[in-house]
């Protein structure tokens, strides 16, 4: 195959992998601190995308902002809306069910996700249809031989990788990160040492959900189109990446994200006629991997669980 085209595929795979990893890390963080699966997480991605879409649209209607400022508005909206939905769901749904069976949390957040999804569909004018996402990033193409890539894609990829790295630093180097890891490893001892359990859990939900909101913005910028139900598939992919990588760890879901995107890309490259089935292939491989490594590729014992 043409090396330029191959590079193109590789680039797209990396980009998707980054987005998946960002979503998967949230699942893993929530599971780490509270041993819960928060199934509304995928729909928070859509909330982030639509908040950025709405904020950018509204400000553009009012004032003509220069590019970087318009992007900043979208970024703040996506992160803010993500954090708020995460904290509200954590406070109102997840924490009160702390001592209930895990299935209850799963069900409650699954329904909360549906509420978010339907709220977007009904609140946004003509919300059932895909929306064109504004081009908030600079135009232009970088080309080398047959390999060409948009500057916007490069920015998204670099930004996404930076966010993954930043998340790792927050977890390993900050006071919040230390508290999160303490609660994840032994919440009672953490409280005895003075860690505020509720605040730490809600901080985790804010952090993970900000990442989801950001993933929504990245998807909008990349595909230039968003949809009220974009969170369903993304939520399942993110969850699958977290499980296959090792739920509760930090590196695991990141690896899982790149693995999933890698399989999708490989399916497209190797079997071009089946590219429409790339998700089917990827999920089949993930199912097989889960069967082979039931506790995730990064086994909890040896890895640094958050």
């Amino acid at each position: 195959m043409d090396p330029g085209l191959l590079a193109q595929y590789l680039f797209n795979g990396l980009m998707l992998g980054t987005i998946y990893a960002i979503v998967a890390v949230g699942f893993s963080l929530f599971f780490g601190v509270l041993d819960v699966i928060k199934f509304s997480h995928g729909d928070v991605v859509a909330v982030g995308a639509f908040s950025a879409f709405g904020a950018a649209g509204l400000t553009a209607a009012l004032v003509a902002l220069p590019g970087p400022l318009a992007l900043a508005v979208g970024l703040v909206a996506a992160l803010g809306a993500g954090a708020v939905s995460g904290v509200v769901i954590g406070r109102v749904l997840v924490l009160p069910l702390k001592n209930a069976p895990a299935v209850n949390v799963l069900l409650a957040t699954l329904m909360a996700g549906t509420v978010l999804r339907e709220a977007i569909r009904l609140a946004v004018p003509n919300g059932g249809n895909p929306k064109p996402f504004p081009a908030l990033l600079p135009d232009g193409v970088l080309a080398a031989g047959s390999f060409s890539v948009g500057i916007d894609s490069v920015i998204i990829l670099v930004g996404g990788l930076a966010v993954v790295l930043a998340t790792h630093l927050v977890i390993t180097r900050t006071r919040l990160g230390l508290a999160i890891r303490a609660v994840a490893q032994d919440d009672e001892v953490a409280q005895l040492a003075g860690v505020n359990f509720t605040k730490t859990v809600l901080g985790t939900f804010a952090l993970g959900s900000m990442l989801a909101g950001l993933a929504g913005l990245m998807l909008g910028l990349y595909y230039r189109e968003i949809n009220f139900n974009m969170g369903i598939l993304l939520g399942i992919i993110g969850f699958a990446c977290a499980v296959v990588g090792g739920l509760g760890s930090l590196i695991g879901p990141i690896l899982g994200g790149f693995l999933f995107a890698g399989i999708q890309t490989l399916a497209t490259v190797v079997l071009p006629f089946t590219s429409a089935y790339k998700d089917v292939v990827a999920f089949a491989v993930i199912i097989a991997l889960i069967g082979l490594f039931p506790t995730g590729l990064i086994a909890e014992k040896s890895s640094e669980r958050v």
Binding site: R175, A179, R181, Q185, V189, A193, V195
Partner: protein
């Protein structure tokens, strides 16, 4: 191990006044009253299931108190959130010497230091811990889960002291330790008292505990069945026959 800032420790008294509590519908403690006087070692003895752990959990806000009051320095702390009780100056060395296994020794101590925002004081305290427990300094970058039982118990104590407490609660520190380390833990308890900390020591190990403690209570079936100085408890033959088996 003395406070780096030289402040006097253990000025406040812990009082448990008529506390009744339990799990679900069953009461495990009935009208229990105890006191831990400043600068002294108070022990709580009792067999398995006597309610010792439940009493500790009630004091620390981990099990809700149904009736009665817990007070520290005259301030009521009944059913306060656990982290706020810790912030008032009550550190706990939990049963089983629990540490954060997937954190390094250093990080474990840092969790104990999360309440302190002053970096210089935090660094001084960390230095003091490493001075008191040189083993921890040697192993500071090792994961706590890989430590030996004795080292874990040191780490658990040091993590508690990192919160700069007045009162240190030891929940069955000898559990699961070799006799050599049990002796070491009791030595540390005595040293802490000498440094001015108030100690509440919950134990099953009667002889060594009464040896080190100043005051004591005996719990049986969720009630206080004996109280006094540890000397008087040690000399009470009837008590030994009834609750500890004859020695």
């Amino acid at each position: 191990m003395s406070a780096p800032d030289g402040s006097p420790k253990g000025a406040r008294r812990l009082s448990v006044i008529g506390v009744t509590t339990g799990y679900d519908r069953a009461d495990v403690l009935h009208d229990v009253s105890i006191e831990a006087k400043p600068g002294r070692i108070t022990c709580i003895l009792g067999a398995n299931g006597a309610g010792k752990s439940t009493l500790i959990r009630a004091i620390l806000g981990l099990t809700p108190v149904r009736q009665g009051e817990v007070a520290f320095g005259g301030e009521t702390i009944t059913n306060l959130a656990t982290h706020r009780i810790a912030a008032l100056g009550i550190a706990t060395v939990p049963e089983g010497n629990r540490v954060f296994p997937r954190m390094t020794v250093l990080e474990n101590l840092k969790v104990g230091g999360l309440l302190e925002r002053d970096r210089t004081r935090l660094a001084a305290r960390m230095e003091a811990m490493f001075e008191s427990f040189p083993r921890l300094k040697e192993r500071r970058n090792q994961l706590a889960g890989t430590l030996s039982g004795g080292e874990r118990s040191m780490l658990s104590i040091a993590r508690g002291l990192m919160t700069d407490p007045e009162l240190v609660v030891f929940d069955e520190p000898s559990l699961g330790l070799s006799p050599l380390f049990v002796a070491e833990v009791f030595r540390i308890v005595r040293r802490l008292k000498d440094e001015g900390y108030t100690i509440l020591l919950v134990e099953q190990n009667v002889r060594q505990t009464l040896d080190v403690a100043d005051d004591g209570y005996v719990l049986a079936q969720g009630r206080v069945v004996a109280a006094g100085t540890s000397r008087s408890l040690a000399e009470d033959r009837e008590l030994h026959k009834a609750y500890f088996g004859v020695h």
